[in-house]
Symmetry: C2
Subunit: 223 residues, 2 copies
């Protein structure tokens, strides 16, 4: 790799009262070339218990096994950390999604396939993230579709039950709206297909659209 | 790689009214093993014009050239994005650093050597980030040391001049405090050594403390 702007790799310790201001970041293209796949956001949106996190984690695992760099942002690592100061009012939900979008953008710029798993019920909030991306194809909106009755029957965390009992106000799908994506890149139906099939559908999309190559990188990376 | 929890890789499309809830994230250990280096935050702190960004970008480049995954968070990609809603009051500065710490933590968990370049003048703010890390060694505090007179003489963006003219209130080192780190992992003196030498000092620290290995990963990654 040539690097014409790299100052003094010989590392002579020179006294200097002034810093030489070389500011050439490693470029996104260089990162992606090294990694063998593109950076992008896979934005999973859908009702509570539709299967967003489960699916994102399964896709993360499959991508990792192929030698790609994937990472999931979900309630577990965001709500207790970065967005621990936010509640569930409409304003706070919007700010929640705005920050997640900005963080996901950073991961994409770093060359990662970042998967986000949040209800993200408002169309405008999702569209805003698409708009801030440096490439239009950086934002892959995946509607995790499942009828609310099915989600409510699953209710793995008992949240629908609490919402029906009035213990959780403004619960998406019960007394707060979910705005279905109008033209998402992908729709997966978790009430029709199992996790493995849905994950396969996502990975196939990435392959067909050139986010990942047809050949696995794993051999090259692990020797 | 064995993976006992992975459901149905044969990808039979099965009708299913319920999702199988397998939620095993790719672990941090697996990521780091694959990458051949540890994830961590290299937290550069120091006065405006002390050389934080320049140094972080140089270290990022050297790590990348060795085949490691490094990424810089600095004013350019944070102040216009994630923290675009924050000003420069003491409260906003604290919130600014809190969010950056949380984002950097996510990058470290993802197995990245993430370099942050922010003045971060308050000791308490920096110590809080150290405390939220899942491993004590995840936070490498690097004091980019340079006398304020030298920084002011450099003044590449004319900020000190504006601060002296009263156009920027609460300017660190002029009319707002900088709290020097008490026991940083590393001190680099940009008024004594040039960028190349300071970058070498940082990389040597990472090697000596096992963040990166002695052998370059580059051969393995690029074939």
């Amino acid at each position: 790799m040539t690097n014409d702007t790299n100052p003094g790799r010989g590392s002579v310790r020179a006294r200097s009262s002034n810093v030489t201001w070389h500011e050439t970041h490693v470029s996104r293209d260089e990162r992606e070339e090294r990694r063998g796949h593109r950076g992008a956001i896979l934005w999973f949106t859908g009702l509570s218990a539709s299967g967003k996190s489960t699916l994102a984690i399964e896709v993360e695992k499959r991508l990792f096994e192929e030698g790609h760099f994937s990472f999931v942002l979900d309630g577990d690592n965001i709500r207790h950390g970065l967005n621990g100061d936010l509640g569930f009012s409409p304003e706070d939900r919007t700010e929640n999604i705005r920050r997640i979008g900005e963080v996901a953008k950073l991961f994409a710029e770093a060359g990662t396939l970042v998967l986000t798993a949040f209800i993200s019920p408002y169309r405008l909030d999702r569209d805003r993230i698409r708009e801030i991306m440096s490439r239009p194809t950086d934002f892959v909106e995946i509607h995790v579709s499942c009828p609310v009755e099915v989600c409510e029957a699953r209710d793995p965390k008992g949240l629908y039950r609490k919402a029906r009992a009035g213990e959780i106000p403004n619960f998406t799908g019960i007394d707060a709206p979910y705005e279905t994506p109008e033209s998402p890149e992908l729709v997966v139906e978790t009430n029709v297909y199992d996790v493995a099939a849905c994950a396969e559908q996502v990975v196939a999309y990435l392959r067909e659209h050139g986010y990942i190559s047809n050949e696995s990188r794993l051999r090259a990376v692990t020797g």
